[in-house]
Amino acid sequence: MPKPKIATCSLAGCFGCHMSVLDIDERILKLAELVEFDKSPINDIKNFTGECLVGLIEGGCCNSENVEVLRSFRKNCKILISVGECAIMGGLPSMRNGIPLKECLDEAYLNGPSVVDGQIPNDPELPLILDRVYPCHEVVKIDYFLPGCPPRADLIWNALVALLTGQPADLPYEVIKYD
């Protein structure tokens, strides 16, 4: 029987959630035995090679590109999991949601004390920034949520093993944290 496939991506996140996946340490080699990695920063696969069982999403959507990537994950993954506060609630990047985008741009590129002859970057090569940062479930249907900033390595590991082996997840209180 072919191994189930797993895909991962980082949208508007800090990559801390991916780092937490790496914090399963030696178990990463075991994970490679349990699953085959499909489209993911972990390899060079260009496009989904077929339907994946699990897609792990880090980060919310802050620009149009994030939305596109998230939609393609929904299309190609049977189970989609929001990993971490950014994916679940927008996280820290969504602190800009109450502030007009222009004020944020002005502060960085015109008013910054080290800026010399500032200007607002504006080029066809730069993508469109969304009016606010959207959590993933506002864009597509999400099946599971793993909380934490980032979620503990043990939480990610236990949840994945449970999904992949069809066993109930063993998630003791201690591994579920919200910071």
């Binding site: 990559f15 801390g16 030696e26 060079d44 960085a108």
Partner: protein, 478 residues
């Protein structure tokens, strides 16, 4: 007819990037640009938050080296609470150093083993299926395990000092919030000699890769530049604290031990329309010539010695290779990085043997002021944090110049040089794309460690004619 080559996205931690390359009708590379395409707005949205939140909040910029942001912000807050950079208790400073050198160890191990080793072991244009850490694990299992365990050791040190492996809370304005326990110390002491031995082996590995084809290794994506870093008062390499030193390509001092509290007198940032990442430069040299490199290569080019035995020996070999002059070879970042990893392991050992970690004053206070600057040498280079606050302790101004931003011009230069070396007059192939990646990757930029922390950067190269029609397209991992 002008062709345009687009590499998109070059993914990252602080956002996503892409490369555009314009090629004229004779196949010459006319113009290259590394665009950083994500914008977050930290400088604005932390305004109104109390200053003591900064060390915890701002580290969410980057999950790969959060400790750097945590500590740079804490150092700025030390100034605000009137303790100042030299006023911490010995316990607080040493605990922070242990946290920071632990992070140096984990970040350098991650970059070298998880990200770059496939390029160095299998070749820059090896088969795509080979270019991942899992392929390294299949062929050189002992190397992959070494990388995983070095990183794990560093992450556990961070957990013991900061409370969490990622986004911890150990440093607070004026100090630190815990001691190291005897159990923790013994746990780390047990394995530290192994970490030192593995670090020595890592330096040897880079030297071995280099010795296979020194001419190619030296010339790949190389160019002369200025170099900048924090250096201890006596000229020693120091990742936690020091003054700003900058040298030019020949080693002449541009900035000599200047106090970083006055960084605005020396450093400016240019903005270009085509990138969300700014372009820092040394003001006295101007926008065109003032750009500089930061990170491991720059640090070894600006310091006079390394204050630990084994790393100092390796430093002497490193310096002798360029006759004592600054080393301007881009791929030598890897060599410098592994020497720094060795130094970190040695410093960790001496800190673990220091009783101050387990007892003593944790926090100090002083007379509050309304502004603070904190600088630190992050794994990827000099990191600037600067805050102003109001009477209510709310942040009113936040200025961040992150390590990867300092390397913005050099990374653009590296793309240009590599494109000219390998793309001129040739057809774009997958292997050539990886050459551009290898050049960017040497800088260990957050924009790339984002994705290729786990493997390869995603690339999308488009050949477009002058009218914007697509001629050909090659994608990978997009």
């Amino acid at each position: 007819m002008m062709k345009k080559v687009t590499i998109h996205p070059v993914t990252r931690v602080e956002g996503h990037g892409k490369v555009t390359i314009a090629i004229d009708e004779d196949g010459h590379v006319e113009r290259t640009r590394l665009h950083i395409v994500e914008f977050r707005g930290f400088e604005r949205f932390v305004q109104g938050r109390p200053y003591w939140e900064a060390p915890v909040v701002v580290q969410r910029l980057c999950g790969i080296c959060p400790v750097s942001h945590h500590l740079a912000a804490a150092k700025a807050c030390d100034v605000i609470v009137g303790v100042g950079p030299d006023g911490l208790s010995p316990t607080a400073e040493k605990m922070r150093r242990l946290m920071h050198y632990g992070q140096m160890l984990q970040s350098h191990a991650l970059h070298f083993y998880h990200l770059c080793s496939p390029d160095l072991l299998f070749g820059f244009d090896s088969d795509v299926t080979k270019r991942s850490v899992l392929a390294v694990a299949a062929e050189y299992p002992e190397l992959a395990v070494r990388g995983v365990l070095l990183r794990k050791y560093g992450q556990e040190l961070i957990q013991a000092t900061a409370g969490k492996k990622i986004h911890g809370t150990g440093a607070i304005p004026g100090g630190i919030n815990k001691h190291l326990t005897v159990t923790e110390r013994d746990h780390f002491l047990k394995d530290i000699d192994q970490m030192i031995a593995w670090s020595v082996a890592s330096v040897e590995l880079v030297k071995k890769v280099h010795s296979k084809n020194p001419a190619f290794f030296d010339s790949f994506g190389s160019f002369p530049s200025n170099h900048l870093s924090l250096v201890r008062k006596d000229g020693a390499l120091d990742f936690y604290h020091g003054n700003i030193v900058a040298v030019d390509k020949d080693g002449n001092k541009i900035l000599d031990q200047v106090d970083y509290a006055n960084y605005l007198d020396y450093i400016g940032e240019a903005v270009r329309s085509w990138s969300y990442m700014k372009f820092p430069f040394i003001k006295s040299l101007g926008k065109a010539n003032g750009w500089y490199r930061v990170g491991p290569l720059a640090r070894l080019n600006t310091c006079d010695f390394i204050p630990s035995e084994l790393a100092q020996k390796e430093f002497e070999i490193f310096r002798a290779y360029t006759g004592g002059k600054p080393n301007n070879f881009s791929l030598h970042y890897h060599w410098a990085r592994m020497i720094e990893m060795l130094h970190s392991a040695e410093v960790i050992k001496s800190l673990l043997n220091d009783p101050d970690l387990m007892a003593g004053e944790l926090v100090r206070t002083g007379k509050k002021v309304n502004e603070g600057v904190g600088l630190i040498e992050a794994p990827r280079g000099t990191l600037f944090h600067h805050y102003r606050i109001n009477e209510q302790d709310q942040i009113t101004m936040c200025n961040l110049i992150v390590s990867t931003t300092n390397n913005n011009d050099p990374m653009n230069k590296a793309v240009e040089v590599t494109a000219k070396q390998f793309l001129e007059g040739r057809e774009v192939t997958e292997g050539l794309l990886n050459h551009i990646e290898v050049a960017i990757r040497a800088y260990d930029p957050c924009l790339s460690c984002a994705t290729h922390a786990l493997g390869q950067m995603a690339l999308d190269v488009e050949l477009v004619d002058a009218a914007g029609r697509r001629i050909s397209r090659l994608t990978r991992g997009v």
